[in-house]
């Protein structure tokens, strides 16, 4: 019998509500995803203004210490079955800011990142595939 979390996650996939924590390249990445060519609403995904309504937290672009502290607080304020998606190389390894004194190098040291999406910035198809993948492998999620 799949766990309660798995059942909940399967429900989420049909209506993923996204809260985007976008610095730097993230927002320019969101526009094609929302735009009419790739249109994320056809998968039921909409952008929510508050983390309270959101299920998936998109974190894109490099995070400085100051923005990371706020990102943690926003992650805490999301309602439970929640998922964090790290968009772009900057969240994986600091990207081109790998040797900057003020950026966070690997996001998963500070936030429970479920899945990273490579690319600088990642293509919209990669973002959609990541959303689908999360929920297919929901059983292995801790």
């Amino acid at each position: 019998m799949p766990s309660e979390k798995a059942i909940k996650m399967n429900r989420i996939i049909k209506a993923i509500w996204v809260f985007n924590w976008f610095n730097s390249c993230g927002f320019t990445e969101l526009i094609p995803v929302v735009g009419s060519r790739w249109d994320m609403e056809r998968f039921g995904m909409i952008i929510t203004p508050t983390p309270r309504h959101a299920d998936v937290l998109f974190i894109a672009g490099y995070q400085t210490w100051k923005s990371l502290e706020r990102a943690k607080r926003v992650y805490e304020q999301m309602a439970e079955p929640r998922v964090v998606l790290g968009l772009g190389a900057c969240t994986m390894s600091g990207g081109m800011y790998w040797d900057s004194y003020n950026t966070v190098k690997r996001l998963s040291d500070y936030l429970p990142v479920t899945m990273y999406i490579p690319g600088c910035p990642p293509r919209p198809e990669a973002v959609f595939e990541a959303c689908v993948k999360i929920f297919q492998h929901v059983k292995e999620l801790k």
Partner: protein
């Protein structure tokens, strides 16, 4: 019908509405009970959402009601402005307003009454 408010042009029976409200309230409460009730009590989750910023102080967060009617006052500037100017604050202005309007009313009453 007992308890029915009747006027020659309208009818309303509050008891009927209240009864129906109780029925719909029961349905809505049932719908609500189907939902998830748990949440992380008194963790970071229950802090107010201020775009990630920490909550500095309760007083700083309070939005004063004085700017509530800004939209209204702004839209009806033409009406409110002269009105505010009219409230000069000294008594004899108000008294002369009172007398003029009294005069006008008397003239109307007499001209219509007779």
């Amino acid at each position: 019908m007992i308890g029915s408010l009747l006027s020659n042009a309208g009818v309303w029976m509050p008891l009927a509405w209240l009864f129906v409200l109780v029925v719909t309230w029961a349905i809505v409460y049932y719908i609500r009970s189907r939902g998830e009730a748990r949440y992380h009590k008194d963790t970071e989750q229950v802090r107010p959402f201020l775009a990630g910023h920490p909550e500095t102080s309760k007083a700083a967060m309070h939005v004063r009601a004085s700017n509530e009617y800004w939209g209204f006052m702004e839209a009806l500037k033409g009406y409110y402005h002269p009105l505010i100017k009219g409230h000069t604050g000294n008594l004899n202005d108000y008294i002369c307003w009172f007398i003029c309007i009294l005069a006008i009313v008397l003239v109307l009453v007499i001209s219509v009454g007779v």
